[in-house]
């Protein structure tokens, strides 16, 4: 078991290192030099000597591999460097923007999970074929809606038409209602699809027929036999959902003007602020790796088949 753990940790570290390298190559090898863009601006009135000094302070002129080694050293101690555009440490910016995103993302994820589970279980319990059909087509509709457009439509309908949610000076929670819904929709879709498929699949397994033959009702079978078997495999898409969550946060925060990591990302790309974007990419990869690590370690706890090695022979 500990061998497995070490192996798995090593893999995670490798992925993290490689993700850092890829982001470094993509973002530091960029032709548009952020420092020149910002400081050559004539309005600042800096002479070439001053620009050279600034460049030296960012280590922009050392060989690429020196920069690489320096950056990796800084990143591993939690120092993500300075944002050229904003002139403040990237870590300070991240810390300032993180709480808004955490709140949005956690609420959005919870709502998405509730939606997905409701869609999947209601559709398999309902005796009405039409309702089942309607519910099962909801995920494929959700997955086809552009998130940014959904946000705009929600604002249009609920804020401007129905005037249910104020646009000007909303309360701290009121402000979150529409963004959370916007974020939840694209995340609930893949989750619901996987769940519906798993439930359908589990329902055809012989042990379900055996349970019915014991005299168990459909509800009993669904909750006590199908649920756990259908929910377990959804853990494997946790990483994919995290990716959706990040994409959703960027778009949602942009549409609703929320001041979180997503909005920060959008502005960083707009102003070609590579340092900020690289920090965000590396931190996302870290989160992804940690999530998958947790899932891998959780599986043997939840699934008895992975706990013991081989079946007894008799």
């Amino acid at each position: 078991m500990s061998g497995y753990l070490l192996n798995r940790l090593g893999q995670a570290l490798f992925v993290l290192w490689a993700a850092f390298t890829i982001s470094f190559v993509l973002l530091q090898a960029m032709p548009g030099d952020a420092i020149l863009i910002k400081f050559q601006n004539p309005e600042l009135g800096l002479n070439p000597q001053q620009i050279a000094n600034i460049r030296a302070s960012y280590a922009a002129d050392s060989a690429i591999w020196v920069q690489y080694v320096q950056t990796i050293g800084r990143f591993s101690t939690g120092n993500f460097g300075y944002s050229v555009q904003a002139g403040v440490p990237v870590s300070t910016m991240l810390a300032a923007h993180l709480p808004a995103t955490l709140k949005l993302a956690s609420l959005g994820f919870v709502l998405a999970a509730v939606l997905a589970v409701a869609i999947a279980f209601v559709s398999s319990l309902t005796p009405f074929a039409w309702l089942r059909g309607a519910l099962q087509s909801v995920p494929s509709l959700f997955i086809s809606i552009p998130t940014f457009w959904l946000g705009i439509m929600l604002i249009q309908i609920f804020s401007f038409r129905l005037k249910l949610v104020p646009v000007i000076n909303p309360g701290p929670w009121q402000e979150l209602i529409l963004p959370v819904v916007t974020l939840a929709v694209p995340i609930s879709a893949p989750l619901a699809q996987v769940l519906v498929r798993n439930i359908d699949d589990v329902l055809t397994r012989p042990f379900v027929a055996v349970a019915r033959a014991k005299g168990a009702t459909r509800h009993w079978v669904l909750w006590r036999h199908v649920a756990k078997n259908a929910l377990l495999p959804t853990l494997t898409i946790a990483g994919v959902l995290f990716g959706e969550l990040i994409a959703g946060a960027v778009v949602t925060e942009t549409v609703f003007g929320l001041n979180g990591i997503g909005g920060l990302t959008e502005r960083a790309v707009g102003s070609q602020d590579a340092a900020v974007l690289q920090a965000i990419v590396v931190l996302s990869a870290l989160a992804f790796v940690v999530i998958n690590l947790i899932v891998d370690l959780l599986f043997p706890v939840l699934d008895p088949r992975l706990r013991t090695k081989a079946g007894a022979t008799a």
Binding site: Q11, F14, V15, L16, A18, A19, I22, S23, L26, L27, A29, M30, P31, G32, S140, L141, I143, S144, I145, P146, T147, F148, W149, I152, M153, I155, Q156, F160, G239, F242, G243, I246, A247, V250, V251, T254, T265, E266, V269, G270, Q272, A274, L277, Q278, I280, V281, S284, A285, F288, V289
Partner: protein
């Protein structure tokens, strides 16, 4: 359930409507095709025609507005109304199709070619290279797709083609993983072993059996990826990293309409509905491929 495998072993099995499509009569075929699928093909067909011959569908100029016609509501003259510069919205959507669809096409083609290449190599060769490729795939998967495409855009700069490349690269890992698992699945099958057993060389077996059987489902996923690429490209367009204004790219149309959200609802609603319909259609078609393959 109704396949009779009895003494009359030599009577061709009749059952479960398994006959191949070719032998179906046309009326029967029509009856078997679900209406949703027909509609989906229709939507994709129209979108395709918009992209190749937009002038057939509208007489308005998508780029030049008409004075005094600004922000008209949808009516008989302007099917979907006009924007703040007096440009016909329907014309802009029709002419915008080429940007969204060509972008998505390039993205999927890129992801498919690189992904299948990596996947097939990983699935058919020895362990070392296989491991190396799959680790690379793991790494690509660990970076959220949007962040990966944003990084690529920072590197390459804004623009339609760059956005398409950025989106295409995000699907490489998924295609590679799927192609590899399919190749491995097919390679384990009895018929591949039987092909080696009857004297087939490695390349002959790969070409005759492994590739045709493993790539069917990968192509089914390509249709699904097409819908997703339309979405991603419109997202990049909306964020302003795709085609520059006044290009009528769908995501950009929605972004521009956003400024008139309280007065001109059609500017955001109509292009969004078009995107949803195209993506839904692509997903539905992809689903039908999956059924044929299975």
């Amino acid at each position: 359930m109704t396949t009779f495998d009895t003494i009359h072993d030599d009577v061709i099995a009749s059952g479960r409507g398994q006959r191949t499509g070719r032998r179906l009569s046309l009326p029967l075929l029509m009856r078997r095709l679900p209406p949703g699928l027909v509609l989906s093909w229709l939507v994709l067909g129209i979108a395709f025609l918009w992209a190749v011959a937009p002038w057939l569908f509208t007489s308005y100029n998508p780029l030049e507005g008409v004075g005094g016609e600004q922000l008209r509501r949808p009516d008989a003259g302007h099917l979907l109304g006009t924007d703040a510069l007096g440009r016909d919205l329907y014309a802009r959507i029709v002419y915008g199709a080429v940007h969204s669809l060509a972008g998505a096409f390039v993205a999927v083609a890129l992801g498919l070619v690189i992904g299948i290449g990596l996947g097939v190599v990983a699935g058919s060769v020895r362990r070392r290279l296989d491991d190396a490729i799959m680790r690379l795939v793991d790494v690509l998967l660990s970076i959220p797709p949007l962040l990966l495409s944003l990084s690529v855009i920072i590197l390459l700069g804004f623009g339609t083609v760059n956005a398409a490349i950025a989106v295409g690269l995000t699907s490489v890992a998924g295609f590679a993983r799927l192609a590899r698992s399919e190749v491995v699945r097919v390679r384990r099958s009895d018929y591949v072993e039987a092909a080696f057993g009857s004297g087939g060389t490695f390349s002959a077996v790969l070409w005759r059996h492994v590739l045709p059987n493993s790539l069917t489902s990968v192509l089914g996923i390509a249709a699904l990826q097409f819908g997703s690429a339309v979405l991603q490209i419109s997202t990049l367009g909306f964020l302003g990293y795709g085609a520059p204004p006044p290009t009528p790219e769908w995501g950009l149309l929605i972004a521009e309409g956003r400024n008139y959200i309280s007065t001109a609802w059609w500017l955001t609603t109509a292009p969004g509905v078009v995107v949803v319909l195209v993506v839904l259609a692509a997903n539905r078609v992809s689903q039908s491929f999956g059924k044929v393959a299975a």
